[in-house]
Symmetry: C2
Subunit: 364 residues, 2 copies
Amino acid sequence: MNVRTASSPIGLHRVVEPVGVLPQAADRLDPSPEIWPDEVRVRVERLNLDAASYRQLAAAHGGDGPAVRRAVLETVRRRGKMHNPVTGSGGMLVGVVDEVGPESPHRLPPLRLRPGERVATLVSLTLTPLAISDGLSGWDGLSEQVPAAGHAILFGRSIVARLPGDLQVPLALAVLDVCGAPALTARVVGWHLAAGELERNDRAPAVAVLGGAGKSGSLSLAAAREAGAGRLVGVVPNDAEAAALRAAGLAEEVVVADARDPVGLAAAVGDPVDVTVVCVDVPGCEGGAILATRSGGTVVFFSMATSFSAAALGAEGLAADVTMLVGNGYVPGHAEHALRLVRENAGVRGLFTSRLASEQGSRS
Amino acid sequence: MNVRTASSPIGLHRVVEPVGVLPQAADRLDPSPEIWPDEVRVRVERLNLDAASYRQLAAAHGGDGPAVRRAVLETVRRRGKMHNPVTGSGGMLVGVVDEVGPESPHRLPPLRLRPGERVATLVSLTLTPLAISDGLSGWDGLSEQVPAAGHAILFGRSIVARLPGDLQVPLALAVLDVCGAPALTARVVGWHLAAGELERNDRAPAVAVLGGAGKSGSLSLAAAREAGAGRLVGVVPNDAEAAALRAAGLAEEVVVADARDPVGLAAAVGDPVDVTVVCVDVPGCEGGAILATRSGGTVVFFSMATSFSAAALGAEGLAADVTMLVGNGYVPGHAEHALRLVRENAGVRGLFTSRLASEQGSRS
């Protein structure tokens, strides 16, 4: 009997230090390419750094692309995963399946994964064993999307999606990266609808999305409308984003406000809403989100720049009886839900493609 | 007309820098003793540092009491509030009302606050303007409870409770400090009960409390039982706490586990529970709490040592469909609820008094 049969579906066997913690909490993972029976090895094509992580790296290195690239390489080399030690966040990746272990659950329906198929990982890079083999030579360090060669490992319980054939890879990757947000937004709107029905009021829940013109924000607006939201407010930081969001037609009201300015934000939103969704990847948005939400309402924090203590103590300090959710990146069916929204909603698709084009343009 | 009439019920007028943020997010508040028309000034008698903050200070100074005292004094002097810059947390205080502004809502029912009454602040010290006048000379730096002289300011919307006459001040203060936890636990158990009734199952929600023998933990266990929980599991770090919790009779099952060890914790809890309440004030408990909770369940994080990104990415990495709540310290009626639990539940009262006695003893 081979010792390798003792792998764990959540990847405990790949944790190098400290021993016994989950891969996400680990300082260092073992990224060696030999797979255990329930694992899958993916040949990496592209990393998608999460927005908070990329923003931190770019700021720390003053926008110096080669320095950002060296920092990412050093993190992956040292930790065996792309886990930004400052923000605690990662991102996801796309690649081609190299080998599927004989005991991998991904062999089975509904996925039936086979070598040669292009997939995106829906678990964070913070817990995905990763090795880079090309020194990221195809990346200028100036964008979140990182062409890369190397390999990554999926555990038995790691979530993965086959890339759809009808969407370009960068678009599909960008959608899948944030697909937890629209799914959870839809669920929370559903809770408020059900509560309203119990109380026999006819008011559909009002929803505000901070960062409404962004990737997770535009998907969340579309998901909220589909789930039965009433008044929909998109909050954006400047006039250019306001114009883009108005053109996309995803919200009845589009307002310009700095989400870090609680009083200004609450004034811009106007009547407090039932659900506030925070999709802004800068620190300091907790107070404004709480202040913009009515008593009995819910704030969903998707931004990885959210501070737990600022949220907890901020609500207490405002005597705000709001339910605050940590935006869980996993909701069953989230990938299919988000891909469907992008396919069916021209407004969302337009915002994604113009954002991807400008990222591409800035890298020239 | 006096410029002083422009005060804000949430204290924006006391923010020195950066301008425009909420008091909790501010680097520095103005703690000057003159009150605005809607404010209350309190003569401070005692600070209660929150557990995560005190633990950090004690560790940073190697348990050197005078050094811890100097650090607290320096923070208050520099920031105009006791806001630990490392943990982001504070605590609360008790004192005697000195002056109630003519426009303070606390003059009105139900509180009808008057000078001379002893009160506890239920808003965090992280947003309470505070000045210390005695150099904390009565404190040895070796405990969370800090005898202190000075003054503090309450805003129009700051929550405050009159201290009950039938409980000793340190006991009442310790209860009020954590009173958000039992109130929110009761609410979440209620949600799961209602959801179970909708699904027509007869199963009362199973609840696990990490740190069940502690202050917020024991209150949360008592609140969960009263709210209709079924199986109740108290998780404690060692045999001494297990014996104390068993004697208190607050949980059917008392198990010893390190909450930072996800696999060990989940094994100790056994069948995944509907609701997990995290009351352990050490970092790294996110993964274990998620792993101990069934799909569709809820994790409530009360520990200020919780990492937002570890919770969000941990759930995603485990493909865990759990709802994760930021433990809001404010739920209407929370103070009365917690004080009633302590009065009516001898088990909770016993755990509190023995803990307070041992803290007292360690200061001799």
